[in-house]
Each structure stands twice: as structure tokens, then as C-alpha cells.
């Protein structure tokens, strides 16, 4: 076994880089008991095995490479074989090793390397790889049950309804399988997706992928709330890894939900939200704050002083109007007005160059984990689509919903095993 990179132990612990391969400090990726340890060094490895997949309550890393695949493998055995190969590679990659047994430079000169090599010398960088299954894996667009799993499709994995204002492009929506790669180094995230895609040639085809930077949500109280490209703090009221009871209630699927194989899993909604930032930037500060419902500097709800103060939706100002406008984003999305729906948001900013009109192709790759999208994402998005003034400045161009299977218990287990056995 060739190690990709010499292990780097916790910064500040005073341990020098150990000689020999594989000695690594592991962050508990929140996979153990649903709680995350305090943040560790950005270079460390996140545990891959556990009851839940890493990359959900793992403190959000700085970088994303998200990939959606369509399966072209014809039969169940071939798909299972791919999932086994992917799992083995993912376990290696997240530990900071090469994708394959020989690695980028350990093979014979006549053979193409079984790792592409651009992560040589880089630490594990907090890489997590998280897999999800889309509705079309269970039954494709023509209604075919290609892999004998149609009867296992969870009720919660319902196709998302059309929302007002959707401008979805089918070619960058949906998909049979997704892999979310998050890391603190973009090169490590890209390397992971690139090598998994290569392993999948002939069995899956890349449908679309998205790079993201600057996490837009905090998933741990140890993290400061980041800002999205509108310049506002995003995800203040997010579910956090430390809220064990809330996570049970709002995040993790459980056997009584109807799909036993999903126990310990979750559901992910992904939306590529293009921001018309040139227009947004011409909007007055007062109006921006009224549209969002928070002040831009501190991130406090309007009428409050501090970011984590609870918003007051009833307060009335001197002019007789609500301090928190009726159409403010914070009000429309708040659990109080959506049947207590909570989400664990884990989105990323993106800037994909610029379009033919010279506008930045920028926005938010929105990602939200939850126990049941029908009761969580859908009602929240409905109320936002209906009234949110923010809609003037954003376009939802891509959409997908995924069943995120439970974690991988150990080296013998594989991604999605419970679905196929």
C-alpha cells in the first residue's frame, strides 16, 4: 500500500510529522454518535466509517466538488460491483491515500497510474465523500426498474414539485447517483471526484458537476457563520452537529419512517441558485437588509442586536409597520411559519466564470440535509417561492433530491449495501 501523503498530526499538539505511513489524527466526523469534536486542523483526516456518512454533520469544510452521475451499467451486479469499488477508493482517499493500490507513482512504467497524482504531497485536508441515490436509480424516466430496487424507493424520496419561478435546466438537474466531495483544499476535492469518475467509466456517466467555495453554512457551533455572495451571513439558524436531539428529529431517517434500509441515512436537496449579483449590488443597503431580514454587518435579525438573538416577528416600528417585514427571507423561511421545519444547510458559493452578457455566473449551490423533504424543504421553498422578494435577484436553475444511505460500518461494508441486500 502506497501512502499518498505523509500524515500530518494535529497542529499545536507538537507532534512532528511522523515517519512511516498512515499515522493520522482522525477528526470524529460526527459519524460516531452524531456529535462532532471541536474543530481540528484543516489538514487532518475525517473518519470514513460510522453509522452515518461523513460529510453531513462534519463541520463544513471550505471547498466542494459535487458530482451527479447517471448509471449506464445494465445490471444490478455491475452496479453493486461499482459501489464496492467506489467505497474502497473513498475509504482510501478520505484517509489521505491514493485512489488505487499502486498509486500515482507506485506502478510499473508501462501502465497508466491508478491514481491521477494531483494530490501527491497534500494532506487528507478533511476530505469527506458522501453518496446519494436519486429517484431515477429506483425507476428510470421510462419507468423501468433497472436494478430491482423500485419497491425500495422511500416515500420521502418524492420528486420535488415545481415551484413558482423555477428556471430549471434538465441537463443539470436530477441524476441517478450523487457524490459530494468536501475538503479544505479544492485540489483534494477535485482529485477525489476525478478518480471516482475514472473508476466509474463505462458504468456511470457524469451528468453534471459543481465546484463550490467558501462554505455558506456552519454545521457546528465551533464555526463562525460565513457569508454568501450577497454579502450576508447565511445559516445562522442552521441545525448544528451539537443539537443531538434535534438531529434525531429533523435529520436522520429512522425505521418507522417507512424505509428500513435508510435507517441512519438522510435526504439531500440540491439547488443551483444563480444570483443576479449585478442587480443586487445596485440595491440600497436598507432594502437589502429588509429583503433578508438581518442587518448586513452583524447578521442580527432586524430589531435585534446580536446574530444569535431570536428574531421577533411581531415587533412593530414607529411607522406602524412590522420591524421584520412580512416578505423578509428570514421570516418566510423560519420554522415558526413552516410547521417547525428545520434543515441542515451545507451549501457553497460558486463563480463559474461569466456568461455571454458579461455577468458573473455566480450564486449559491444550496444543499440541505433533512429527514423528509416533503415536510421540510418543500414547505419552506413553497413559502419562499410565493413571497420572497429575493426571487427578483435569484434563479433556481438546477434541482435534485437524493436519498443519502446510512454510513459504512467497516472495510467489509459498502455504500448502499442495505439497499441491495
Amino acid at each position: 500500500m502506497v501512502t499518498r501523503r505523509t500524515a500530518i498530526t494535529l497542529a499545536g499538539v507538537g507532534a512532528a510529522g511522523l515517519a512511516g505511513a498512515g499515522a493520522m489524527a482522525l477528526i470524529d466526523g460526527g459519524t460516531g454518535d452524531g456529535t462532532a469534536n471541536a474543530l481540528s486542523g484543516a489538514a487532518d483526516a475525517v473518519a470514513f466509517f460510522g453509522p452515518h456518512q461523513a460529510g453531513i454533520v462534519t463541520p463544513a469544510q471550505d471547498r466542494l466538488h459535487f458530482a451527479a452521475f447517471d448509471v449506464i451499467a445494465k445490471d444490478r451486479a455491475e452496479l453493486i460491483e461499482l459501489l464496492r469499488e467506489w467505497t474502497a477508493a473513498a475509504a482510501r482517499l478520505t484517509a489521505g491515500h491514493d485512489a488505487g493500490h499502486f498509486g500515482a507513482v507506485g506502478g510499473i512504467p508501462e501502465a497508466p497510474p491508478d491514481d491521477t497524482g494531483e494530490a501527491l504531497g497534500l494532506p487528507a485536508s478533511g476530505l469527506t465523500l458522501t453518496i446519494g441515490f436519486g429517484p431515477t436509480l429506483f425507476r428510470d424516466a421510462d419507468g423501468r426498474d433497472r436494478f430491482g430496487i423500485a419497491d425500495k424507493r422511500p416515500a420521502a424520496l418524492a420528486d420535488l414539485p415545481a415551484f413558482r419561478g423555477d428556471a430549471l435546466r434538465p441537463e443539470i438537474s436530477g441524476g441517478d447517483i450523487c457524490i459530494q466531495a468536501c475538503a479544505n483544499d479544492p485540489q483534494v476535492a477535485v482529485h477525489a471526484i476525478r478518480n471516482l469518475a475514472r473508476i466509474g467509466f463505462g458504468r456511470v456517466t457524469m451528468r453534471y458537476s459543481q465546484l463550490g467555495f467558501g462554505r455558506t453554512s456552519s454545521t457546528s457551533r465551533a464555526q463562525a457563520t460565513p457569508r454568501n455572495l450577497m454579502g450576508f451571513k447565511d445559516g445562522t439558524a442552521n441545525l448544528k452537529a451539537e443539537d443531538t436531539e434535534l438531529l434525531k428529529e429533523h435529520l436522520w431517517a429512522d425505521a418507522p419512517d417507512g424505509a428500513a434500509w435508510m435507517t441512519g441515512g438522510s435526504y439531500l436537496v440540491t439547488r443551483r441558485i444563480r444570483m443576479l449579483i449585478e442587480t443586487w449590488d445596485r440595491t440600497s443597503l436598507g432594502e437589502q437588509e429588509a429583503i433578508i431580514g438581518r442587518d448586513k454587518g452583524e447578521g442580527a435579525p432586524l430589531g435585534k442586536a446580536k446574530e444569535f438573538d431570536e428574531p421577533d416577528f411581531t415587533a412593530v416600528g414607529k411607522d406602524g409597520e412590522k420591524v421584520m417585514p412580512m416578505e423578509a427571507h428570514v421570516r418566510l423561511a423560519h420554522p415558526d411559519f413552516n410547521g417547525n421545519a428545520r434543515l441542515l444547510r451545507r451549501g457553497y458559493n460558486f463563480v463559474d466564470g461569466s456568461d455571454s452578457l458579461g455577468r458573473l455566473d455566480a450564486g449559491l449551490f444550496f444543499m440541505a440535509y433533512q429527514r423528509d423533504p416533503r415536510k421540510q424543504f418543500v414547505p419552506v421553498q413553497r413559502s419562499l417561492a410565493k413571497a420572497d422578494i429575493l426571487n427578483e435577484y435569484i434563479r433556481h436553475v438546477s434541482s435534485a433530491v437524493w436519498a443519502i444511505p446510512p454510513g459504512v460500518s467497516g472495510p467489509e461494508d459498502f455504500w448502499g449495501r442495505t439497499l441491495f441486500t
Binding site: 449506464i72 510499473i108 508501462e110 501502465a111 467509466f201 463505462g202 456517466t205
Partner: protein, 373 residues
């Protein structure tokens, strides 16, 4: 550090014979050659079996299309073939066949996998040793190259003649056909430095100081300018260059490693030049080149097959499946005896082709290491 295995021609066992071979072993034919009656829809082979040794076929083209006749071993390994049989003509083919099962095939219109029939050879033939199998790969591929260079020269001559005669319609029809033979053996062509860009260079890849000549210059004249009145010199030069490369390629012996890499490079050509429509940007006949690259890649792999079967049977099975998928997907885009234009394909169809080429190129990229063992 392993040493790359380089085989010289010294160890070659000539195990098959092309139609024009000189040293003929003792004939195993009893009662003269086996008659093959070829039409546009049928391929009647008078006998379905023979004794091992030299088997002679006499192929009569009774159809309206130019045809070809092949004897294939497993994996479409060409044991012998005769190309370019015009209507009304009879050609003889001598094939030295060890005991085993084969397939005969006629290809009316010179396309597709042909009209196949089983053919059995019985008798005793000692199996090849491992090294001999590799040596035979070189010989087998050399025969393949020779089978392509003859029609390459003939069709290029026809093409050049049409250009110089100002017959634009005929030249346009011949352009993708002449290129087919070229594209099948491109790995060999690329060995000869400047000749490849002179014959097949595109306007944007011509090195500084080199003129834009060859097939694609004539393509531009035919399709973009619609005027070949000033193309005579370019046409003459193309024929000179093709003659030179044919002479060199016929003598060239590719090592098994070169074969393995050539098979991969042909697919890289498909992925980077043909699927994108860059190769034949004026005529959009990229799918002819695509098909030819795929056929050439298959011929290289087929030559290595006996060695691969010993060393990596799993890989052989994977390659067979992947080749079949690629051929099936490509076949969707047939148009009569030719192919649809690149511009007629949707993005979805091009992506599907990309997927099957990726699926094939990955296992093909593993052949070199198996051969180098």
C-alpha cells in the same frame, strides 16, 4: 524498472498469408479453392470446413457494391482478408489456418461487421509459445497494415484524380472513404515525423513554418470554397506523401507495446478529435474517421489477443464487451453505406459515444502493462 520488450522481426513466425504472399506452404486444399459467392445481401461459402494448412478461397463478387472478404479468429482477429473486390471480379485468398474455429465474412459496401458464417479447421497445429504469440502479434498487425495501405493508395489516387478533374461531387464522396484506410492505421503513420501533419494536419495544428497541405486543405477547398481549380499542386503532393508513407508503413514492424499504445491512441483520437467534430470541421464526416479509428484499435488488440488470453483472460472479456458496446452505439448513426454527419448528432448522442469510448479506453490502457510482464 522493467525493460520494455522490443521484438525484432527476426523471431517472427509467419502464420498467415496475405493475398500477395510469395512463400506458400504446402496447400491443404483438396479439390481446388473454396468458392465464395458474394452479393449485396449474401455470402455463400461453398464449404464450412477444411483441413489445417493453407486454405484457398475464391471470392466472386456478384453484387453491385464493392465487397471485402475476411477470415476471422476469435475476437475478430484477422487471419486473412482481401479488400476492394469490385462487382463482377473474382479474387483468390490464401489463408494459413491452424486447427480451430473461425468466421468467414463478406462486407458488401465495405462496411459493418459483415455477413458472417462459421468455418471450422481441423488437424494438428502445435500451440504457439508465449513469446511466439507476441512475435505473431507483430506479424499479424503488419498484415493488417498491408491490407489497409493498398486500398489507401488506390482510394487516394481516385480522390486526387477527381479533385484535379474538378469533379467536386465525386471528390466529396471519396474524401471520407480514402481517409478511412488512413485513420485505421494512424498509429503507424504517426511514427514518420513530418509526414503525418503533411497528410493529415489541420489548419490550426500546423507547426510554424509548415504549410497547410493534405487531406484537410483539400477538404476546405471542396466544402468551404467549393473551388478546386487551384488545388492541383496540393492534390499531387498528397499523393506523393501517401505513397511515401505506404512504402514506409509496409516495412514497419510495430512491437507489441507499440500495438498496445496504438490501440489506446486511436481511441484518444476519437475522444479528442472526432467526437468534438474538430477533425473534419468543413465536411463534418468525422464519424467515418471515428469508425476507422475504432476498427484500427480493434485490429491492434486482436493481434495481441492470443498473448492477452494467456495473461489476462478477464481483461479480454472486458475488452470484448466494451468493443461490442462501442460498435453497437456507433452503428445507430449509420446512413446508407456511410455515416451521419457530425452536425446531425445531438449533444446527448455525442455524450453517449463519449461514454462508450471512455468505457473502452480504460481497459485498453491496461494492455501495455500486461504485455510488458
Amino acid at each position: 524498472m522493467r525493460k520494455t520488450l522490443v521484438l525484432t522481426g527476426a523471431a517472427l513466425l509467419g502464420l498467415g498469408l496475405t493475398a500477395c504472399s510469395k512463400d506458400e506452404p504446402k496447400s491443404a486444399d483438396a479439390g481446388g479453392p473454396i468458392a465464395v459467392s458474394a452479393t449485396d445481401t449474401a455470402c455463400d461459402v461453398a464449404k464450412k470446413e477444411a483441413a489445417s494448412g493453407v486454405v484457398t478461397f475464391a471470392i466472386s463478387n456478384k453484387g453491385g457494391k464493392i465487397t471485402e472478404f475476411y477470415v476471422y479468429a476469435a475476437g475478430d482477429r484477422v487471419m486473412a482478408e482481401v479488400e476492394n473486390i469490385p462487382p463482377g471480379i473474382t479474387r483468390e485468398l490464401k489463408a494459413e489456418l491452424p486447427a480451430g474455429t473461425y468466421e468467414t465474412a463478406c462486407k458488401p459496401g465495405m462496411i459493418g461487421s459483415g455477413i458472417r458464417a462459421a468455418f471450422t479447421v481441423s488437424g494438428s497445429a502445435a500451440p504457439l509459445t508465449a513469446d511466439a504469440k507476441l512475435a505473431d502479434a507483430t506479424a499479424n498487425y503488419q498484415r493488417y497494415v498491408q491490407s489497409q495501405t493498398v486500398p489507401l493508395l488506390a482510394k487516394t489516387e481516385e480522390f486526387v484524380t477527381a479533385v484535379k478533374a474538378g469533379d467536386i461531387a465525386k471528390a466529396k464522396a471519396l474524401f471520407p472513404i480514402a481517409r478511412t484506410y488512413w485513420e485505421r492505421i494512424e498509429p503507424v503513420a504517426e511514427i514518420f515525423g513530418d509526414l503525418d501533419p503533411k497528410i493529415d494536419g489541420r489548419e490550426d495544428v500546423i507547426a510554424e513554418g509548415m504549410a497547410f497541405t493534405g487531406f484537410h486543405k483539400l477538404e476546405q477547398d471542396l466544402w468551404v470554397k467549393g473551388d478546386v481549380s487551384k488545388s492541383g499542386a496540393i492534390a499531387d503532393q498528397l499523393l506523393v506523401d501517401v505513397k511515401e508513407i505506404v512504402a514506409k508503413a509496409t516495412a514497419e514492424k510495430l512491437s507489441p507495446l507499440q500495438l498496445a499504445n496504438g490501440a489506446k491512441e486511436l481511441l484518444d483520437e476519437v475522444a479528442s478529435g472526432k467526437i468534438t467534430g474538430e477533425e473534419d470541421r468543413y465536411s463534418h464526416t468525422d464519424l467515418w474517421d471515428f469508425a476507422a479509428n475504432l476498427e484500427g484499435s480493434k485490429a491492434s488488440v486482436a493481434a495481441l489477443r492470443p498473448a492477452l488470453e494467456d495473461r489476462a483472460p478477464d481483461l479480454v472479456a472486458k475488452l470484448d464487451t466494451a468493443f461490442k458496446n462501442a460498435e453497437t452505439t456507433l452503428a445507430k448513426h449509420r446512413d446508407g453505406d456511410g455515416w451521419k454527419l457530425h452536425t446531425a448528432l445531438t449533444t446527448g448522442e455525442l455524450k453517449e459515444l463519449t461514454d462508450v469510448i471512455n468505457a473502452l479506453a480504460e481497459p485498453i490502457s491496461k494492455i501495455a502493462a500486461v504485455i510488458a510482464k
